[in-house]
Point group: D2
Chain length 338, copies 4
Amino acid sequence: MIITCKKGAPQAEIDKIIKEFEDKGLEVNLIRGVDYNVFGIVGDTTIVDEKIVRANPWIEQVTRIAAPYKKVNRLFHPEDTVVDVAGIKIGGKENIVVIGGPCSVEGEDQICRIAQEVKDAGGVMLRGGAYKPRTSPYAFQGLGSEGIQDMVEARKRTGLPIVSEIMGVDKIDEFVENVDLIQVGARNMQNFDLLKALGMIRKPILLKRGLSNTIEEWLMSAEYIMSGGNENVILCERGIRTFEKYTRNTLDLSVVPIIKRKSHLPIIIDPSHATGDWDLVESMSLAAIAAGADGLIIEVHDNPECAWSDGAQSLKPAKFKQVVEKGRAIAKVIGRDI
Amino acid sequence: MIITCKKGAPQAEIDKIIKEFEDKGLEVNLIRGVDYNVFGIVGDTTIVDEKIVRANPWIEQVTRIAAPYKKVNRLFHPEDTVVDVAGIKIGGKENIVVIGGPCSVEGEDQICRIAQEVKDAGGVMLRGGAYKPRTSPYAFQGLGSEGIQDMVEARKRTGLPIVSEIMGVDKIDEFVENVDLIQVGARNMQNFDLLKALGMIRKPILLKRGLSNTIEEWLMSAEYIMSGGNENVILCERGIRTFEKYTRNTLDLSVVPIIKRKSHLPIIIDPSHATGDWDLVESMSLAAIAAGADGLIIEVHDNPECAWSDGAQSLKPAKFKQVVEKGRAIAKVIGRDI
Amino acid sequence: MIITCKKGAPQAEIDKIIKEFEDKGLEVNLIRGVDYNVFGIVGDTTIVDEKIVRANPWIEQVTRIAAPYKKVNRLFHPEDTVVDVAGIKIGGKENIVVIGGPCSVEGEDQICRIAQEVKDAGGVMLRGGAYKPRTSPYAFQGLGSEGIQDMVEARKRTGLPIVSEIMGVDKIDEFVENVDLIQVGARNMQNFDLLKALGMIRKPILLKRGLSNTIEEWLMSAEYIMSGGNENVILCERGIRTFEKYTRNTLDLSVVPIIKRKSHLPIIIDPSHATGDWDLVESMSLAAIAAGADGLIIEVHDNPECAWSDGAQSLKPAKFKQVVEKGRAIAKVIGRDI
Amino acid sequence: MIITCKKGAPQAEIDKIIKEFEDKGLEVNLIRGVDYNVFGIVGDTTIVDEKIVRANPWIEQVTRIAAPYKKVNRLFHPEDTVVDVAGIKIGGKENIVVIGGPCSVEGEDQICRIAQEVKDAGGVMLRGGAYKPRTSPYAFQGLGSEGIQDMVEARKRTGLPIVSEIMGVDKIDEFVENVDLIQVGARNMQNFDLLKALGMIRKPILLKRGLSNTIEEWLMSAEYIMSGGNENVILCERGIRTFEKYTRNTLDLSVVPIIKRKSHLPIIIDPSHATGDWDLVESMSLAAIAAGADGLIIEVHDNPECAWSDGAQSLKPAKFKQVVEKGRAIAKVIGRDI
């Protein structure tokens, strides 16, 4: 950690600052510059709260050298983490997983039918929303527990593990009991109460990046879960908010190599929510695989026009199958397989 | 609502689309254009889910004419809403309120001492965080219930109503019992489970704008609370995330006249979180008042350098007093008072 | 074009608005809604200036249905445009081109040596900056005309056509005479004087997307060039500015399928400027090809550590070769070739 | 300047890096950290090109401590700069200037009539666009030289100095001869050829912030002009591009205190372009004055509905007068005057 101090700071103030760090067991190196003095702080600076340091009026700037995360940091965990979701391995150098399913569960028949289509097309896990975060209170809010049970039934019939989004701490028991991979949605990426609670369980967590969150904040949210003791975290990029209006969000594929460098956690891509447009899903799926993603989570619906939410971004099963097949061919080029 | 349909759409498809809207009790007007056909949908379109409409492959574009919110909409409620927070009125044409206090409650002594300073300076309500949303799991997370009780004690001693941030549904009873104005933080602005639960109570809610949420999304979150039956909602702008790096966030003051036009709800400004820099707080506070805001919520600490969080953005009491006084003079110019 | 008019507008005002459009040869359809009246304007609305319409205080909102561009619009030109750059074809369904070279030309030896490396690795065109747009007046500004002549020499020795960035109208003659593909940089994407001047020549133009420009604005800038008569426009995505700090810019690969849908112009990707980090270039290059891009423009330097600008994002020739080879394998999967 | 070096870097590499800096006359301090080594570079680091440093694969991060600008930096020029525009002083602690006029000059009568209205309302300078940067090639592009001459006539009749936007280097002679304050528009803020040319003249320059440019980049563009020798630079904030859709741009008023801290140059605000909506201009104008701005530049038109561009954001003269009067009252509260 590098701390820039205004030139006129009195010696007593400088001594005080140095002492505060030394009391924390950190080593302080002082560099006297032309217009500023600089303190180089050596040691485990994750315990230092930048905001408190910055409150000193003599301090001009605080710059972290070491990342503020430890558990998720590849520096301290060089091997890829491979998360086991009911037998499906996510992460590592070889396998790429494809997860498919509707945005919302609409009933047992619908989800079982689509689950079978997903499986036939090469998907290895089923997605489906039972509790839906909707911008409008007047929009369909999901089937709730009934939807979860419909997912359970679809798993029973097809053998596909299931992933669904949790929206509150009070549903953790229900999810631990019924769901194989618990999704934290973009809007809850910094719902810290929820993250802490998910750190106490051992079910795998699919942590979506917030609409406007930096990669560092995203990794810090993963750190919340891991520091609680749950090391089964999978990251999922689903597009960020930018000024562009022709797409719903801007899919940031450069996160793939960056996450691989900064962290050991698996990273998958959601091209459906990122673009909001089924017609862009194929090209973004293939791009994600070429970029090195560990998996895809794609919306699939057998009748998108009648879907209860987000039909516009759902692939029909035949199209989904085609994406899986082309994706597999690209995976092979880069030494992986779907 | 205006729906653009691709030129080649078969008549049967057009008839089907028209029928779907008519079945919802809406009137459909068809305009045949050169390259597109356009449907103008007349009636209460808040019940229409745009995403479902857009799923039809013949549909090119869906544009809302009427806003998707009703309860918060000034069109249907032309009078300003004035929210009563334990006797303090927020909103309307005359009064401007100033709320002050530390980012975090650090103990009974600290909060009672600062509460008195806030009151002496002209503040009419006390802020203080007991449950803190922190990016890092290693940062101070707040005193919790103990902090709430310290706030209660400060209210007892000074008479100032208190505002504090709630982070989860499980704390609603505690907040209803102890807090006068319940704050929903920026990171929870789209925590819909929390919004629904807050719609069921009658305590006033201070709804902060999410870091990256549009004004429309913000009003939709207010609509969640109001549609549940709780009409005591106060909006609070606290800066949005942009590319700029010299400020923590970008304070968007143009929301003041826009909220006044679109909604009847009161709007206050938080210059401390918006800028992250105490040195910018005075000028942004005065600007907010000049822009027509109904109030300010400002961080005040008697020893910012030792504050447990966000000291860098806290004013010392003497500076806070100066801001209140200059603010009052500006308020008078525009026919209001603090 | 759809125009929303406030409900209380007097009939005389409505008649006036209708007449203004009819006088332009447009047809006006009026839909009377519950809270608004809506005019649907039919005809060639590219001639209508939205801002003028919006100035009428009775007008609430103006929404374009038809795109504001004509020449670049695929609707009126369904075939892919293939631009011929000194014999190299860019665009169409089959071929993908790879352009390589240093950020800045540093001298004849350097550029000729790198040109040979680019050619040996499979690159078909040489890039090199002679006039450099630099944020700081104290940074290296490029070799100017001397750099252009060094590029010409490199072309002579290798046969590779050359691309270089133009920064002002006064250099057009020099570029027409010497350069095969004239690049308009991101910062000049809306330098309309330059765009108009480039519309008057017939040399191919490589139009980079501005750091913060929407796809629509980008296509409008292409429309400037095309409406002047120069139809040889190639679009180039090079990353947009977002809040993310781990990458220099955010590469927006979803532009590839969107440009293919909205326009007939070729689209290539610059992964070097987008990421600012050579270590991300391979994965973003492969992703771009998988997404359907018509080409890549990649920075290559044989000694990045000594490069006079942007060494951090340059590939060494051996790495560049590897990217071309993997890219070719991915191109084949989607039925194309490099 | 702080440079973070990966832990495993060989000693020879470290020695080489140190030598490179020492050869530039800079002093290097090495701090050995736990996971990284850090070099603190002392001296005039504006001459160091960060990108070149970052190209070394052992370098992890480069952080500037001192700002990259010198001429515009308040650190080296503590007094406020006051720019004299044909007798009107802009900057300093007392005076606030108000500039008014139409977006586009539409003819001699129009501009002379509006100039008189601006003057009568308390405006001290006249704005008017003769060369217009328009997103669409089909929109009105301005009257050009004829428009400049109309402005000259309006100055003759009213005595108001005139400000107009320049779009290319080839117009500098015309502007130097006729215009009192030469505006560089947002889209040309990084047209470095233009900035360099404007550094060679002595006429005052009004430098608008680019739509998506950081304050640092903006100051670097001012540095271009000043380093050429022209010290008469006035900065103008006109809104930045964000995700918000209810305003055209987001007016960033926090630039006012930040510019005052970082630089000695005057800063004025353009609320008309920032909001794109005349109805927001009054509140943003008053806010700008309360925030400490040195002036306002406001669009005024006597018939906004018939304005040839941007009528939607123009005030009628009577409204403009009211803004000036309220603004004056607020200016007095903070010890200034209009």
